[in-house]
Symmetry: C2
Subunit: 196 residues, 2 copies
Amino acid sequence: MSRRGLSRASVISAAGDLADSDGLEHLTLARLAAELGVRSPSLYNHVDGLGDVRAGVAASALREVHAAVLSAVAGRSGEEAVRAAAGAYRRYALDHPGRYAAMQRPPADGSEQAAPADELVQLFARLLEPWQLSEEDTIHAIRALRSAIHGFVELERLGGFGIDLSTGRSYDRLMQILIAGFGPVPAAAGSGTRGP
Amino acid sequence: MSRRGLSRASVISAAGDLADSDGLEHLTLARLAAELGVRSPSLYNHVDGLGDVRAGVAASALREVHAAVLSAVAGRSGEEAVRAAAGAYRRYALDHPGRYAAMQRPPADGSEQAAPADELVQLFARLLEPWQLSEEDTIHAIRALRSAIHGFVELERLGGFGIDLSTGRSYDRLMQILIAGFGPVPAAAGSGTRGP
DNA sequence: GTCTCCAACCTAATCTCATTAGTAAGGAGC
DNA sequence: GCTCCTTACTAATGAGATTAGGTTGGAGAC
């Protein structure tokens, strides 16, 4: 009948909204189609099935997280930058639980998610440059940082912290411990992550 | 027809095996029933639907993790005990990916999972006793420990560590940083986690 | 202005799965 | 041997994904 203004991007975006509001596990093509005022087979003109929708949401979320973290570390360096990055990451997960959940599915090899995921890791790697760690230590440090951030955010998102004590403060403490564990920053920190 | 020796426990156990081998997302009543040589409606004599199966797998996995960690810390205390606990936890997740994944679903309030989950947290709390932290600091420390362990294990399980560098060593480093961050152990550590 | 063509929508049909209702039989206790 | 409960069954319903094939609005060619 009438032409909707659907596109892959708009379908993925609507799917992300649905995942955030109803939970990723309730994201179905049927609901998505209803939301878009269309019958579910029609979605196949824009995406390649439910798996593709989820992959698209994941890739888009990864790009958004990357952008949020990048924006948060602008004009900051060293410990301050790491804290800002961690904070932005957590904020995204809290604000977009469904999209964050989609990010966690293992990406198919060479998938749409692989590139933005790599970029995000590279960004964290750059934040650690001031510490001037060896190549191997840098890898260990990034893994530690990613693990702590991801684990905390995931436990918080899934309601794993039962006790009524500020989770924000717990997060700060965790970051403080990790950063301290990376050792002292050798030289005086410059301004900006890399900048002009 | 002939009586199978099915019970809730055997169904949940078979479900756990299926989740470990094929992935939690491929655990269906249809496959489970086929595995057990039975038609899927017959499973309802032992469990209350797919949701109940997943909850049962989660609760059983939590009990197994608890047992594994408990066994690992026997006769150990302080830093050594924390390392052993973290190691046992990781080992379980690597050996039983489907069961571990099932554990991560948010438990319904007052569900079968709640008790073993609490016990596991309490166990970690006890491991931190030698540090004699304040009540609040203990909570922050447990959250840090849980976050780091869970995050690392989850990233490793989902294949998030692309680079070819020992993940075991990364894990050791992470634990070392965290433990150091808890501060020095005040008194001489006793033997055992608690008792004689 | 009319024609052509294709992308974007549709309906119909199939398949897998979960779940409920109602039926039959094995075997334990009497 | 009889009774009854448990456990398995078949049948049926309904949700959802996906494929096949038809229809049409409207953009661009002429």
